[in-house]
């Protein structure tokens, strides 16, 4: 009897200890996630402008966002464009740069540092820099292109070129992917390459049948985290649109988002536009919930992968 008692006391102590260690995050989870999440669902059914008390509006916000709000479908399309095209290019380019750096034998450290640095550039600063570099009138990139006789695109000022311009900027910041691909490539067992070479495998066959299978978990990781990042893409398209359109920031300025012609509009920007520019908090919450559903779907995909985030330590 006494032993069961002490055992139970020990269990209780251990549970309390765990709770104590987890408590900062548990409180944070409740206050900064659970409570606002429930409120977001609640407000999505309310009409609320922040001044008059919220009133019940049923599914009006939902039909407004999906049927009448002119920016929702363009924003969803742009987000999907970034998810498919930008992520693909970024993963391919990151892998290419990662492979290149493992092949470089002279000055490896210098090259690696140079390739990595853009990843560190603060997003706003990088966007300001690219808005300047790709400025159709005076930017150095178009000066160079025109000097060699290539017709210079309008980049952030042309709806057909604004997303490629954004993508180019994200390719520039590929240093994080380079690092994880480099680590994965160096982890591929050397014997497998030697065996493949003995069997007379060509360079492509060695890549296809040795490298790829070994790094496929990392490719998957890069794809899914890239997709989540693309869904969250906010600062860069917003700042690029503002700078390119020449809108001066300040309280009360009404900025039609997604310049030019909604081409740089993404879902997170809609939450800001609806909530903080149009003071339609209810509809903003509808978009927030769409964003939530999409990002959680991709997160679930990430966590189901073996070799993904949850692997070791269990």
């Amino acid at each position: 009897m006494a032993t069961t008692h002490t055992l139970r006391a020990k269990h209780r102590r251990s549970a309390l200890r765990t709770l104590a260690f987890l408590s900062p995050w548990l409180i944070g989870f409740a206050v900064f996630f659970a409570y606002p999440m429930i409120s977001t669902v609640y407000f999505s059914f309310m009409h609320y402008d922040g001044f008059r008390p919220p009133t019940w509006s049923g599914t009006k916000n939902w039909t407004y966002v999906f049927e009448h709000y002119p920016f929702f479908w363009p924003a969803l399309r742009n987000t999907l464009w970034l998810v498919v095209i930008m992520v693909t290019l970024r993963v391919l380019f990151g892998l290419g740069i990662g492979m290149l750096i493992t092949k470089i034998k002279t000055g490896t450290g210098v090259f690696r540092t140079l390739f990595y640095l853009p990843y560190l550039a603060p997003p706003v600063a990088a966007t300001m820099a690219f808005a300047f570099l790709l400025n159709p009138g005076t930017g150095p990139v178009n000066s160079l292109l025109e000097n060699v006789g290539i017709p210079a695109p309008g980049w952030f000022n042309d709806p057909d070129w604004s997303k490629p311009a954004l993508t180019l900027m994200f390719l520039w910041g590929v240093g994080d992917l380079m690092v994880i691909f480099m680590a994965a490539l160096l982890d591929v067992p050397k014997e497998q390459y030697e065996a493949a070479e003995l069997d007379g495998a060509s360079a492509w066959q060695r890549f296809r049948f040795v490298t790829l299978p070994n790094i496929s978990p990392i490719i998957m990781f890069a794809v899914v985290t890239g997709v989540i990042a693309a869904m969250q893409c906010y600062t860069q398209p917003l700042v690029a649109g503002k700078v390119a359109s020449g809108v001066i920031q300040g309280a009360g300025t009404m900025f039609e988002p997604g310049y030019p012609e909604h081409s740089t509009l993404t879902l997170p920007q809609l939450v800001y536009n609806l909530g903080f520019q149009r003071f339609d908090y209810g509809s903003a919450c509808v978009v927030a919930l769409v964003l939530f559903a999409l990002s959680m779907a991709f997160t679930a995909l990430l966590m189901r992968r073996r070799g993904g985030l949850l692997q070791a330590g269990d």
Partner: protein, 297 residues
Amino acid sequence: MTQVLDRPAELTARATPAERTARRRALLEWIAVHSLGVAAALFFTLPFVFVFLTSLMSDSQALSRDLIPHTWEWANYRKVFDTPGFLTWWRNTLIYAGLGTVLTVVSSIPVAYALAKFRFRGRNLTLMLVISMMMLPPQVVVIPMYLFWAKQLDLSGTLWPLIIPLAFGDAFSIFLLRQFLLTIPGEYLDAAKVDGCGDLRTLLKVVLPMAKPGIAAVALFQFFAAWNDYFGPQIYASENPDAWTLSYALESFKGAHHTDWNLTMAATVLVMAPVILVFFFAQKAFVEGVTLTGVKG
């Protein structure tokens, strides 16, 4: 004659044709790889170079298509610092990043430690929730959070709504630290227990000293997350320029100096420079952090 012909290949002055092709191929590959490397290096560095060169141009030249400044206007940087508010924005950024980093590290360590080393029911569920939070776009919960801070606590126009939540653990930091703590062998913890150390003492005396590189990585990432944050200050601080941070103010700088690309680029350099300077002192921590989140599960 025969003597010469019979000499082993490696002793002859000239290599055999097979060796020569191998060597030539190795040289060609070296040249190809390094040319590609140089091309890539240009792609990654030229934007910095052009931004820096433009930051030193005169007002009129910044509007032209020249690439190299005629006169080097170092005074541009003085002008940026003389812009009203610029020093306040630096101070705000340092407060947000500095205080936020300390709070994040202190509050995330115990959570990460429990997730890495305690066995308890619901551990995997907790970890999954942490990862989900890490992936959550901040826009999802911003409406109620804004209403909470602005309408109920009347703290809009300050940095507190950005700093206070960091005292309750940050999902990314918890995850990164957990990944790091997993690499610390359990024997150390068992030894501490045998020596009569309680949990808190084990954490403070045994785990923390070993976790220094992990903590450094988390601190750096959190510092730069705050440094780079645009959305947070836009939501909570935009109405009050005295509460702006550098990242948020940078864009307004372009607004105030409408056509002055030179001053705007000088300000851009000043926002980028600290990050890059710190990187040169703490390369290892950065790279370790990136690898830990990506490769080691």
